[in-house]
């Protein structure tokens, strides 16, 4: 099934894309996708901050199970204000 990954700030800089559609096995959890990204992009491990995750614009945990057409956003701690 297909999902969309969105990245921001340091994560975007390291991965080199801000949005990408990928195909994942059904039943995949957020942590599976993060693991796959780490394997494919060794530079991703340079991020020392804890990552924040949102699925369909709501914060969630790495255990969240993804569904078809979900939008998975990965980003560092926020710094607005």
């Amino acid at each position: 099934m297909k999902i969309t990954i969105k990245t921001f700030a340091t994560v975007k800089d390291l991965l080199g894309f801000d949005e990408k559609e990928i195909t994942i096995p059904e039943g995949s959890r957020v942590e599976d996708i993060i693991q796959k990204i780490r394997e494919e992009n060794p530079s991703f491990n340079e991020i020392k901050d804890s990552l924040l995750i949102a699925v369909n614009e709501e914060y969630c945990s790495s255990k969240t199970i993804l569904n078809k057409n979900d939008i998975l956003a990965i980003f560092p701690p926020v710094s607005g204000g």
Binding site: T10, E58, P76, P77, V78, S79, G80, G81
Partner: protein
């Protein structure tokens, strides 16, 4: 009245403050966050903010709705810039009103502190010798 605005353009502070407050309100509290020229022991030339706008709106709405309900606010305006923000310019404005000052002060503090924790916006500082994303929630 609740208003949440994300914009690239400089904030019209006077206008926002003028639009805050009803006949029932004895207090208007305004918080302005500004781009300062010194950070991390370096001279800062300017800032850039990146935003995940659709999610930022949802998160901001949660914060404003809670504050309005919890501290009996009659007006609450939050304007946050994205893109380039020059030194001395406002990056955020929170303008709110309530019958009494205690509630207004508490609400203002809650809103800015929570924005810094949950609203997906990121600040990048630009120096003469490079730039850095800020992720320390300062």
């Amino acid at each position: 009245m609740k208003q949440i605005i994300f914009q690239k353009e400089p904030i019209n502070i006077e206008n926002a403050v003028k639009n805050t407050g009803t006949d029932r309100d004895g207090a208007v509290v305004v918080f302005i966050g500004r781009a300062r020229n010194r950070s991390n022991n370096k001279d800062v030339n300017f800032l850039e903010y990146e935003i995940y706008e659709s999610m930022a709106y949802k998160e901001m709405e949660k914060i404003v709705n809670y504050a309005v309900k919890n501290w009996s606010l009659n007006n609450c305006i939050v304007i946050h810039r994205y893109g380039r923000v020059n030194i001395n310019e406002a990056s955020i404005l929170i303008s709110l009103s309530s019958p009494h000052r205690e509630e207004a002060y508490k609400a203002s503090r809650y809103i800015i502190d929570t924005i810094k924790k949950t609203v997906p916006i990121w600040k990048k500082e630009f120096y003469s010798d490079g730039s850095i994303w800020i992720t320390d929630r300062s």
